[in-house]
């Protein structure tokens, strides 16, 4: 059974079987807010409909003659009071929608965050950071906007649409005709409009993206463009892209111009007026009711103009919800094996016919076999794409081997308890990641609460002490966006310091830094050598000097083991390896 690597105890239960149910189960936790939203929406529309009714009564009052001032004042005060109350109800609607939106944004973000923490490293290595970020930021935001303004306006305008139908019969039952017809026609026209608009908008957006991306590339590579005298070609390429965008823009303009609900609104106004006059002539309604009815039809103005935007906001929000849920629901099987072996590790590693391929892609590693004795240092070399990095990641089960077996201390890695395995294996990646906190906190990341003396000792061993002291705040210097920027070599040495502090039995070091100067190179060599001493170490390296002092060298070529042995053995048996050293001697 697969268990998420991180869970929190008090997580609320939600239904993740479909995006709609998922959103609904989140909303269900805020029942009273939904009531507030619905009551507010209905009350807002009803009170808005009261205004024309009161105005009609005022007309009748004046036409009736007599002493009316008191009654007129009363009507005016009723209008004023009802509209202030309407304001309060509308605020209830708006704020209710806002409250749901904000709470869902908060809760969904937290849910996604926890789920990301719980996913296996395999998942995180295969899932592009940019994509995850887009879902955790933009998409979560879109779900919020789906409620306010999206659903807020949809529900609000729906109440405005039905209100004339509800109120009109109080004047005359036949007067329901025009608003009912409008409602049907409006629904059809809007649906047709949105269907037509969607692909056009999409086309415009992608045309803009294309134009922008190509332009950004040309500007970034301007030195190459100029060096190759390709300015005119780039300008005409850009112009072609800009023209494509122009076409898409005009097409969207055409669709938007033909906005049928606007025509329907005009027709409804005229139709309502005609109908009212006919009834007036028959004496079925009085003038005040004519005025009230015409005013009532004006309520359609709001749904006509806002719904456009509101509906697309809702559909964007649902699409975002689907993307987020998709990420949360993605399974990342990795057996944690909680009852597995958990003893201290000696550090022996054996590969037996190991193969691995990323899901849906070609094989990265094929039939790899070699053995590393405890405490040995192994250099792994090969061209880009040869599978060096993947090889390292199999050892701590960032990925699980596909065929063959990988043993640590004679035990298949899957028989180890995952936590125990990883605690005793440290991987230092090519791009060393540092958190935006102090240097000391970064070094002590794996051992929170380590004393300052221990931290400094680790930094000394990693040859980092000197450059750390060179910063104004020393060990308290902040790293990252709000602090100092560190070079690749410096980051690497901080990662080594981290490793000194946690003292793993196996160290896997993906080293692709380069030193501009020889003094730094001396320090890095020292740091890595010390880190390798007393533990099993796999170094994925470009450095010939490291290759030279490794006990064993593993040469990979296109995912296969091309050669394995000591330097002297490889100089005899591997021509590609020999060539590298020979070119030095030829000078």
């Amino acid at each position: 059974m697969s268990v998420a690597e991180f869970v929190i105890a008090d997580a609320p239960a939600v239904d993740r079987s479909s995006p709609l149910r998922w959103i609904a189960s989140h909303v269900a936790r805020h029942g009273w807010i939904v009531v507030m939203l619905l009551v507010g929406a209905f009350g807002n529309a009803a009170l808005a409909a009261l205004v024309p009714v009161y105005i009609g009564q005022a007309f009748n009052l004046i036409l009736g003659g007599g002493a009316v001032l008191g009654a007129l004042l009363q009507l005016a005060l009723l209008i004023m009071g009802s509209q202030v109350l309407r304001g309060a109800l509308q605020l209830g609607r708006n704020f209710g929608a806002e409250l749901i939106g904000q709470r869902l944004e908060r809760d969904i973000r937290a849910e996604l965050y926890v789920s990301l923490l719980g996913k296996s490293m395999t998942f995180h290595h295969l899932q592009p950071v940019g994509d995850t970020m887009a879902r955790a930021t933009n998409d979560v935001r879109e779900v919020n906007l789906m409620f306010n303004p999206g659903l807020n306006l949809v529900i609000g305008s729906a109440n405005f649409l039905i209100m004339p139908i509800l109120v009109a019969p109080s004047f005359h039952p036949a007067l329901m005709l025009t608003p009912s017809l409008f409602l049907v026609a409006y629904g059809l026209a809007l649906w047709q409009y949105l269907t037509e608009l969607r692909p056009v908008t999409e086309a415009q957006r992608s045309a803009f993206g294309e134009m922008n991306a190509h332009l950004a590339e040309a500007v970034d590579g301007i030195e190459v463009v100029k060096g190759a005298a390709q300015e005119d070609e780039e300008v005409s390429r850009f112009t072609a892209n800009a023209r494509t965008f122009r076409e898409a823009f005009v097409r969207q303009g055409r669709v938007e111009a033909r906005f049928m609900p606007l025509l329907l609104l005009g027709l409804a106004t005229a139709g309502a007026f005609l109908h009212a006059i006919l009834l007036f002539r028959q004496g079925a309604i009085d003038l005040g009711q004519v005025v009230a009815y015409v005013g009532l039809i004006n309520l359609f103005g709001f749904p006509t103009f806002v719904s456009l935007f509101a509906y697309s906001q809702v559909s964007l929000g649902m699409a975002s919800a689907r993307r987020i849920l998709d990420l949360i629901n993605r399974h990342t099987e990795l057996d944690q094996n909680p009852s597995g072996h958990a003893g201290p590790m000696r550090g022996e590693i054996e590969f037996h016919g190991v193969s691995y391929s990323y899901p849906g892609r070609v094989r990265v590693l094929e039939d790899i076999s070699f053995r590393v004795a405890p405490g040995q240092t192994v250099a792994i070399v090969g061209q880009t794409g040869a599978g060096k990095t993947t090889l390292g990641r199999l050892v701590n089960r960032t990925y699980d081997v596909e065929r063959g077996s990988l043993r640590v201390d004679g035990l298949d890695v899957r028989q180890w308890r995952l936590g125990a395995l990883r605690e005793q294996i440290s991987i230092i990646e090519q791009d060393v990641f540092l958190f935006s906190r102090s240097i000391a906190d970064n070094i002590a990341f794996g051992r929170p609460g380590a004393s300052r003396a221990d931290i400094e000792a680790a930094a000394r061993a990693a040859q980092a002490h000197e450059f750390i002291l060179a910063f104004h705040d020393g060990y308290d210097t902040l790293v990252g966006e709000r602090g100092v920027t560190l070079s690749g070599g410096q980051r690497q040495r901080l990662a080594l310091a981290r490793a000194f502090l946690t003292d793993p039995r196996i160290l896997i070091l993906d080293d692709s830094t380069s030193s501009i100067d020889s003094a730094t190179e001396d320090q890095i060599q020292q740091a890595i050598f010390r880190a390798a001493r007393g533990r099993t170490t796999l170094i994925i390296t470009h450095r010939l000097s490291q290759i030279r002092w490794a006990d064993t060298i593993v040469v990979l070529r296109r995912g296969r083991l091309a050669a394995v042995g000591s330097h002297d053995e490889l100089m005899r048996s591997a021509p590609a390896y020999r060539r590298i050293f020979e070119q030095y001697e030829s000078r």
Binding site: Q83, R86, E217, E585
Partner: protein, 604 residues
């Protein structure tokens, strides 16, 4: 631009007088004068039709109120149908035509802006962030063109209001003050909401940016967190920031949720007032029932323009500043100026610096009286500390920058007299960070010589390490390299850029050697490619690798813009001067001796 003014300013920005700015904007719209006329006509039609509706209705109600006659009622209903259709049709024409006009103006302006930018020299691009240049070309141009839509929208609303106003004034001036007096209040309320909204919105965005930054850190650093089992700690931190963002954004939401309820309540008060005051006048027979109706129903016609006006200025100002930014980009002056456009024959590649003077900033001279003669076919390595002037020499040969004194000759001819692009076609340039465009490796290789055949490229590729590097590309030369070459490794990108130059057969080869480390197998292939180029061109190498330095015919040692030593590796080493010092600083660890003795040295 209000509050944000100055935040995105660039040194080439200039302030145009409003009159000049509008005149220049007009040059872009003038070709569409006929379209603009149509748009204006349609706006007039819409405004007239929009204003006419309540006026007509009021007149009929007047008739009905007097003797209950519905005279003209039916023809009025017919007229209303007509007006409804007219408004829609006019809107259709107006939107369609303005989409075309706006689209064309955007296209013209974008083309002009990029063509101008592409003509600027590298000093310009070095000084200004590329993202900002791009946004001027794509986003500011769009904002500029949209100004026209904005202006016409507002004009149409004001015209409607003006028509109604004129009618009301002619029927019954007495009620006008009640209607007008109410508007400034609305305007002030709308304005203060805008100000408040801006403040809470800024706070809300900041809080959200914090959450996003934290998520980004967690996602990118998740391996570290998992390696050290620190999930719980970073989750606690996240929860706190997430809750904080919720609180702050809820406050913002509350302010925004208040806007329309308050304005609507205000509108209700206005309506109530007009009902009462108008009714009072109607009872006394001072105004007709129709006029009363018209007053009540015209509130909206004044209402919307006033609300929009509170947002309008900042938007128009935004459009004008966008125009200013685009024109500043177009007008930025280039420093590199050619005195003539002499055609360039096949060059031999002899380069002469004659007492050359150059500086980026007048106070900090980079090269002073530099004299240097590079023979045709010679391979020269430039070495020195950062800032010694190595890259400057290379960039001056490319004529990316203008020099201030002395002469720079190629094949004995002044560089300033060449047809620049014909000259650059004979240069092969590899920048320190190799740059690839999205497309295939093959597209990139023939970038500088589009007519090169597949066969020619294929056979050149095979000459590098027996073509072994091709096997690391999933689809060989047809491999998509991704945006900026991101799908390829550093070493592969270097090889592709070297291939680009190999295919070009340049007279002069300029290499700013990469400092990034590459696996030893790829490194071997890069050396082979390099040697192929060195054989056939004059080469100027900004060397970072010991092997490159040793491969050069002559090493030129620079210090603070001056040549202080020259010679080959062995002779310079035996001199024990600056080169020997540079060797100890930068090259020592690349030597075979260092590699060989690493085993014993580190164990010390």
């Amino acid at each position: 631009m209000g509050f944000f003014t100055g935040l995105d300013a660039e040194s080439y920005d200039r302030t145009y007088r409003d009159r000049d700015l509008v005149a220049r904007m007009w040059t872009y719209f003038r070709p569409h004068a006929r379209r603009l006329t149509v748009i204006s006509l349609m706006i007039l039609v819409m405004s007239a039709a929009g204003a006419l509706t309540p006026i007509l209705v009021a007149r009929v109600i007047d008739g009905m109120s007097r003797q209950g006659s519905t005279e003209g009622g039916l023809s009025l209903a017919a007229a209303l149908f007509g007006l409804g259709f007219l408004v829609w049709a006019a809107n259709w024409v107006r939107r369609t035509v303005s989409a075309r006009a706006v689209g064309d103006v955007m296209l013209d302006l974008r083309r002009d802006a990029f063509a101008a930018a592409a003509g600027h020299d590298l000093a310009f691009f070095g000084e200004h962030a590329s993202g900002r240049i791009v946004s001027r070309i794509t986003s500011d141009t769009s904002e500029f063109a949209q100004v026209v839509v904005l202006v016409t929208d507002l004009i149409s609303q004001f015209l409607e209001a003006a028509v109604i106003f004129a009618v009301l004034a002619s029927i019954e001036p007495r009620l006008l003050p009640w209607l007008i007096g109410f508007l400034p209040i609305t305007f002030l309320v709308a304005m203060s909401f805008r100000r408040l909204a801006r403040r809470v919105t800024r706070a809300g965005f900041r809080a959200m940016a914090n959450v996003n930054a934290l998520i980004k850190e967690a996602v990118t650093g998740i391996n570290v967190a998992k390696n050290f089992r620190q999930e719980r700690a970073i989750h606690a931190e996240f929860t706190q920031v997430n809750r904080q963002s919720y609180r702050i954004n809820l406050r913002r939401g509350f302010v925004l949720a208040m806007v329309f309820p308050v304005l609507n309540a205000l509108g209700g008060v206005g309506t109530a007032m007009l009902v009462y005051v108008g009714g009072l006048n109607a009872v006394q027979g001072l105004i007709t029932i129709g006029a009363w109706y018209l007053f009540i129903s015209s509130l909206d016609f004044f209402w919307f323009p006033v609300l929009n006006l509170s947002a309008f200025w900042s938007q128009v100002q935004g459009g004008l500043s966008a125009a200013e930014r685009v024109f500043a980009l177009i007008d930025a002056e280039s420093q590199v100026v050619q005195v003539s456009q002499r055609p360039v024959p096949r060059l031999e590649g002899r380069v002469t610096f004659d007492r050359l003077q150059f500086h980026y900033l007048p106070t900090e001279p980079v090269l002073e009286d530099l004299s240097l003669e590079i023979a045709a076919g010679e391979d020269v390595a430039l070495v020195g500390h950062t800032g010694a002037g190595k890259s400057t020499i290379a960039k001056l040969i490319c004529r990316f920058y203008e020099y201030q004194g002395g002469r720079l000759l190629v094949d004995g001819q002044d560089l300033r007299t060449f047809d620049l692009r014909a000259y650059r076609r004979q240069l092969g340039i590899v920048p320190q960070v190799p740059f690839l465009f999205s497309g295939t490796a093959l597209d990139n290789i023939r970038y500088a010589r589009p007519e090169a055949t597949d066969e020619e490229i294929e056979s050149l590729a095979r000459r590098i390490g027996e073509g072994e590097w091709l096997e690391t590309l999933p689809q060989g030369l047809m491999t998509e390299v991704g945006e900026r070459g991101a799908q390829l490794s550093m070493g592969q990108r270097q090889l592709v850029s070297l291939m680009r130059v190999l295919v070009q057969h340049p007279s002069i080869f300029i290499l700013d050697e990469a400092t990034a480390s590459v696996d030893p197998f790829t490194e071997y292939q890069i050396q082979q490619a390099l040697r192929l180029i060195l054989e056939e061109s004059t080469s100027i190498l900004i060397a970072h690798r010991l092997s490159t330095v040793k491969a050069a015919d002559r090493i030129i040692v620079l210090r603070q813009g001056k040549i202080i030593e020259q010679g080959n590796h062995t002779s310079l080493m035996s001199q024990g001067g600056h080169y020997a010092e540079l060797y100890d600083t930068y090259f020592r660890h690349q030597s075979l001796e260092y590699v060989e003795r690493a085993r014993t040295a580190v164990a010390r």
